[in-house]
């Protein structure tokens, strides 16, 4: 009886989160008639699926590395402003929106920018004679996802990494100066090692974020299954992909496994980070 008050939330999470996860994973292990099979799991070794995961990893890797680097640079710049300043509040709000709620809308932003009729495309073509689509329209292919993804990756890095940069104590730089250190030694011997785990943590989080993103890609690429989330869409809509049923469950399982590994690495790095943020 003592735990009765927790029942509504527990029941809700069970029905809407735990059951769906179990169902998603379980469909990966069932055939068309509901019998148990490992057949779908072997599909993860299918060359088509392997190359889709490869595309997803490449896209996530590129946007994570570039996004984390640019994001860290912005954090460094922001650390020069007072914590409560107007610019920081504005940057915070903008980053929050772009990092977490952009989705489909970011796809349209880039269609208006570097789409076939986008202003940047037109200016480059008509004023500078540079046709960015000379080798075909890549915006609606996997390479076209890189810029829109960076548009939410950089802000996510800012949100994630800024607390660590703000956590660098003035006393540390004073101690460094008192002991005869230069600005270079401050960065290589003190700030660098302290920030390294949170930078890597941010990198992992950005990778996971790009890997699991669906909306932006779905809005830009309406046909095809070049990355894993789009392949799940294909499997859900058409039931049979590569002549296999229940492939959506297998792909979901593959994604969840990758995400568990990534988030495990992230929380290990976050624990290392927290030591310096007290």
């Amino acid at each position: 009886m003592k735990y009765l008050g927790l029942a509504p939330f527990a029941l809700y999470v069970l029905l809407m989160l735990v059951v769906p996860v179990i169902l998603a994973v379980a469909t990966g292990f069932t055939d068309g008639d509901g019998g148990f099979t490992l057949d779908n799991i072997t599909a993860l070794a299918d060359p088509v699926i392997v190359s889709t995961f490869g595309n997803s990893f490449a896209l996530s890797g590129i946007t994570a590395v570039v996004g984390a680097t640019l994001g860290a640079l912005v954090c460094y710049a922001l650390s020069g402003l007072a914590p409560g300043s107007r610019i920081r509040i504005a940057v915070d709000a903008v980053c929050g929106v772009l990092a977490q709620f952009g989705g489909v809308m970011l796809a349209f932003a880039f269609i208006a920018t570097i789409g076939i009729q986008g202003i940047v495309t037109l200016i480059l073509r008509d004023r500078l004679g540079v046709d960015i689509f000379a080798d075909g329209v890549w915006l609606y292919q996997v390479p076209g996802l890189i810029l829109p993804y960076l548009y939410f990756q950089v802000p996510l890095m800012v949100i994630t990494f800024l607390p660590a940069v703000d956590g660098l104590k003035v006393q540390w730089s004073e101690a460094n100066a008192t002991l005869g250190g230069s600005r270079l030694t401050f960065w290589t011997r003190i700030a660098g090692p302290i920030l390294a785990p949170s930078f890597l943590g941010g990198l992992v989080l950005l990778f996971a974020n790009a890997f699991s993103s669906y909306a932006t890609a779905a809005a830009l690429i309406s046909q095809g299954a070049q990355i894993v989330p789009l392949q799940i869409r294909g499997a859900l809509i058409s039931e049979t992909v590569l002549g296999r049923e229940n492939l959506a469950g297998t792909l979901a399982l593959g994604m969840i496994v990758v995400m568990v590994v990534l988030m495990g690495a992230y929380s290990a790095l976050a624990r290392k980070t927290e030591r310096w943020q007290r």
Binding site: P20, V21, L73, G96, F101, T113, P163, P229, E274
Partner: protein
């Protein structure tokens, strides 16, 4: 003046460095938003005008945009439904765990952050069968999506409320109120809720932003919301899609700037431990 400033010994960037970096990145990040604005102002015959903005509110086009308005209505209904679900299910549980079951705190955190590890696109595979049951019970109206959205907003709402909970001593406040003879409902309404107001506000605002931007679940569960309608309408009328995207983004900026001002604990970093 320069002679009076102390030599820079620490890791802080100079004014000049800050301005340069923020200036360059700011301009690059403004390009897509400016391009959206420019795109919506193009007139059919060339030149610029408010043609596409006016078309949106022209009563003659009502039929053409019927689906779009339906999607917006659904999203505007889903936002408060999701917030209500979050406030009714998550918040009392968090308060209860804080007061009575401190040992369950880690478990609750783990559960609330789980949706980060299970991407919406993977979750939807298992939600499809769950929703065929839900449709059987509640019908297939759009508001039923709120059940799933309540899960999506968990990590955001949890962090916002938790950072507020950590900042106040809920146990002492409650005990004080009880000692002074307050009943439990009085404690909740006059002590706990006011003490948590910034956290609750932040959690609600972030939940609204999540719901208004949600596309994955709605589109794959075959329900209409703002985002699915935008994708649909963009196929025949890209201008309208861009206008509404721009407005939604600006609306979300405004919402988040408001919580930034209130100074509530927004999810500053996605710490899972």
């Amino acid at each position: 003046m320069a002679a009076l400033t102390a030599p820079r010994i620490g890791g802080k960037p100079s004014r000049w460095t800050t301005t340069t970096i923020l200036g360059i990145v700011g301009v690059i990040f403004a390009i897509p938003l400016v391009s959206m604005a420019e795109f919506t102002l193009r007139s059919t015959g060339g030149g610029y005008g408010f043609e596409h903005w006016l078309a949106l509110i022209d009563p003659e086009n009502e039929r053409r945009y019927r689906m779009l308005w339906a999607g917006i209505r659904n999203s505007l209904l889903l936002a408060p439904s999701t917030v209500a679900l979050m406030l009714v299910l998550l918040v009392p549980t968090m308060i209860l765990v804080q007061l009575r079951f401190p040992r369950l705190r880690r478990l609750l955190e783990l559960i609330c952050l789980l949706p980060i590890t299970v991407p919406a696109i993977a979750l939807v595979v298992g939600l499809a069968p769950v929703y065929s049951v839900i449709s059987g019970v509640f019908g297939s109206s759009a508001w039923t999506l709120a059940f799933a959205y309540g899960i999506l907003v968990l990590p955001f709402a949890y962090r916002a409320v938790q950072s507020n909970l950590q900042a106040i001593d809920l146990v002492t406040l409650t005990e004080a109120a009880r000692t002074l003879g307050a009943s439990w409902p009085t404690v909740i309404i006059r002590v706990i809720v006011p003490a948590l107001r910034t956290g609750l506000l932040a959690a609600s605002v972030i939940s609204i932003a999540v719901v208004l931007g949600e596309y994955t679940l709605a589109s794959l569960l075959n329900r209409q919301n703002l985002q699915t309608a935008l994708v649909q309408v963009s196929k025949s009328d890209p201008y309208t899609a861009v206008i509404l995207s721009l407005l939604s983004l600006l609306f979300a900026f405004a919402l988040l700037a408001v919580i930034g001002r209130v100074g509530a604990g927004r999810p500053q970093n996605r710490t899972t431990s």
